[in-house]
Symmetry: C2
Subunit: 432 residues, 2 copies
Amino acid sequence: MLPYELIKKKRDGLRLDREEIEYLIREYVAGTIPDYQMSALLMAVFFRGMETGELAVWTEAMVNSGDVISFSGDGPYLDKHSTGGIGDKVSLPLAALLACNGIHVPMISGRGLGHTGGTLDKLESIPGFRTNLSVEEFKRQVDEVGCCIIGQTASLAPADKKLYALRDVTATVDSIPLIASSILSKKKASGISGLLMDVKTGSGAFMTSRESARELAATLVSGGGALGLTVRAFITEMGRPLGAAVGNSLEVVESIEILQGRGPEDSTALVVRFAAEMIMMAGLERERARAMERVERTVQDGSGLMMFAKMIEAQGGDPKVVEDTWRLPIAAGRLDFCAKSAGCIRAMDCEKIGQAIVALGGGRKKIDDIVDPSVGLVVHRKVGDSVSAGEPLATIYYAGENRLDEALGLLGRVYSFAEEAVESPELIHEML
Amino acid sequence: MLPYELIKKKRDGLRLDREEIEYLIREYVAGTIPDYQMSALLMAVFFRGMETGELAVWTEAMVNSGDVISFSGDGPYLDKHSTGGIGDKVSLPLAALLACNGIHVPMISGRGLGHTGGTLDKLESIPGFRTNLSVEEFKRQVDEVGCCIIGQTASLAPADKKLYALRDVTATVDSIPLIASSILSKKKASGISGLLMDVKTGSGAFMTSRESARELAATLVSGGGALGLTVRAFITEMGRPLGAAVGNSLEVVESIEILQGRGPEDSTALVVRFAAEMIMMAGLERERARAMERVERTVQDGSGLMMFAKMIEAQGGDPKVVEDTWRLPIAAGRLDFCAKSAGCIRAMDCEKIGQAIVALGGGRKKIDDIVDPSVGLVVHRKVGDSVSAGEPLATIYYAGENRLDEALGLLGRVYSFAEEAVESPELIHEML
C-alpha cells in the first residue's frame, strides 16, 4: 500500500477502506508515514469529508493506537463532553449529581486555550486538587467514589495526540469528521458506554453557526453509534455566557451554588437536564419528568454537594471549599463594568469575554502560560435584558491594575444594544 | 506572518497576496516552512485553484528562488514545451528548423518517467551526446549555434525542484495552477521571451480530457502573459502516437527523416506548423502561409538537417548519424505485432504503448532506472485505419526475448476495433 495512492483516493472523493485506514493510522503513529503526507491527506479530508462507516473505522484505528480502559464494575459508565464555551462549568456539578444517582463518571478533560476555559483549570483552583492521576488511580476512584475528573494521559489514543498537533499547524482542525474522530476516540478509549455531547453554538462557541453545530452533533451521534458508543447530542446556546461566573475559582463557586440549589437559572437548568438525560441513557428512568425529579432530589438533600466534596477529597483537594468558598483563591480587585446608556441587550460577543479573561491572566494564549485562578467576571446582564444607564453589566475580579485596561477594552466590545425589546434565545436548541 | 494563517486563507478560498506568496516560497526554499505545512497548502491549492494574478506572483517567486539566464544577443529566444506524449519527438527537428530560421532556441528538457518519453533520453541515444552542459556552455551554444537542448540545472527555479518533489509524494501534481507554475517558472528562468505550449489530450496524455487540456492551455497563456512571457498554446491529439516511431533511437531516426522531408505525415505537419507559428511569434513573418513556406524551404534545402548535425556536434555527439542512421543503437530483435481479425481501428490506449516501451527496457519505472535506447516500436496502423486479419499493426524492436512477453501483453490491449468506418480525429484541436 502506498500513502500516495491513499491521499489521491481521498482527494478524488473516494472512500478509504478498513485496511487502508488502519495502515495510515498505524504507520503514521509509527513514524513510517511522514507528516507531509498525513497533512496532505488531512487537507483532502477537510474538503472531501468522510462517510459514517469510514469515520467509525478511522476512529477505531485511533482508539487502537493505544490503551483502552476497561472497568471491572457493572457500570453504567457515562461521560459528558462539551465543545467548549464561556462560563461552562457544567461538568463539575454534573459529575457529582450523576455519581450520587448510581452512574459512574470517568471524565477525561482538557485545559483552556485561547478564549475557551478548561475543566482542569477550574478544578485546579481548588487547593490541593490533583488532575494528573495514573490510569490505575483513575479507575479505582471511578469505581469507589463514582466520579473522577483527570487530564489526558499519553497512553490513551496516542494517534489523536499526534494528529491533533499536526492539524493545529496545518489549518485542518475545523473539519467535522476530524473533530468527531478526535472526541470519539478519546472517549471510547476511556472505557465509557455512553456519551452526552453538548455542542455549543453562537459567538463564544467553536462552531459559531447553527448549521455546522448540527452537522457536528449528527456526526458524533452516527459515528459514536458505529463505534458501539451511545451518543446523545444537544445543541445549546453560546451567544451569551452560561451562568454568571466566568473564570476558574468563580466557576467553582457557581458549581457549588448549583449543587446547593441556588445557582443561576440557566446553568442550573442545563446541569439538571443533562443529568436527567444521562439517567435515562443509563436506563435508570424511562420518563424525563421522573428523571428530572430524581436529580432535583439529590440537589435538595445535599447528596450532590457531598459527592462533589468526596471527589475533591479523593483527588487531594480541600473538601471544605464546598462550605467555605473563601478557601478558594478569589481576586481582591473588584470593578463594576457598567452600561453607558439605557437599552436592551441585543447580542454579546462571547469570544471577547473569553479574551478578556485571558487578558486578566485567567486563561492561556500559549499552551505553557500560567493561569491565575483568582480572576474572572460575574456577569449580571445578558442577551434580552433591559438595562438603564450606569447599571453594572458585569463585575470584574482582577489581580493587578496593569491587566485591567486590555480587559476593559475587550469588554467594551462585548455588548451591543437595541432600542426595542429583544427576545433571549432558547438555552437548548435541539437534541439529537 | 504565520504559515498557518496562509494555509487557512487558501483553504477558505481567499486569494494570497504578493507579500504572502513571496514569504511562502522564500521560507519554504530556505527550510523555515516545513514540508508538512507546504503539502497542506498545496492540497488546498488543488481544491481552491489560483487566480491569474496570484499564479503569476507565485510563479515569479519560484523564478526568483534561483538564477535567471540572461542572453546577450538580440534574440529572439523562443522555446517549445509539450506536456508529454507517445512518439513526441517534435523538439528535435523543431529546434533545428527554428535555429536555421534565425530563432535562438535555449531548450531545457526532461527525462522520461512512466509511460511518457523524454527528449533528453532521445538525444542521449546519439553516441557521445551530452545533455549536462553548464549554464555558460548552454548560453554560448545558443548564441553561437542557434539551439541547444540540455537537462534541468540546479540553479534555475530551485523552488520548483523542491515543490515538485513534495507534490510527487502528496498527490498534488495534477493541479492546473501548480502544473502551470512549474512549467512557466522554469521557462521564464531559462531566459526566453516566448513559449509555444503543446498541451496533449487523449489516452497517452497527462491531461486525458479535452476540458482539462483547455483549462491548462488557457492558464499557461494568461499566466505567461502576466509574467511577461508570450505563450501560444496548442491542444493536440494524443489518442494515437505521434508519427510512427516510439522509443529513443527510433525517434531520432524519425526526427532525421522529418528533416529530410520524408517523415510521417502527422509528426512532420506538427513540426512545420509549430515552426511557422514560432516564426510569426518572433515577428519574422506575418502570414502563416509565408511562414510555412519558409520552414518547408529549410527542410528541402537541407539546412534544417545540417543545423541538427551542428547541434549534435556542439554537444559532443556524432554528427554523422544524420546521414548514417545505423550509427544509432537499434535493437536487432524484430517482431511484427499483427491484427487478429479485420476491422477499423476505433481507439488506441496510448498509455499502454508507453508501458510496453518501459517493459521492453526503453523507459523508466523509477527515476534511477537505466534506459535501453535501442528498443521501441514502429507503428504502422493508427486510429481510423482499416486493417485485414494478420496485417502488421506495429513492429517491435526488442533486445532480449525475456522482455517480449510483457510488452506483447500490453500491446494486446492497445487497439480496439469497430466494424464500421471510424474517422480519425484532427491532429490539432485548438490554438489559444
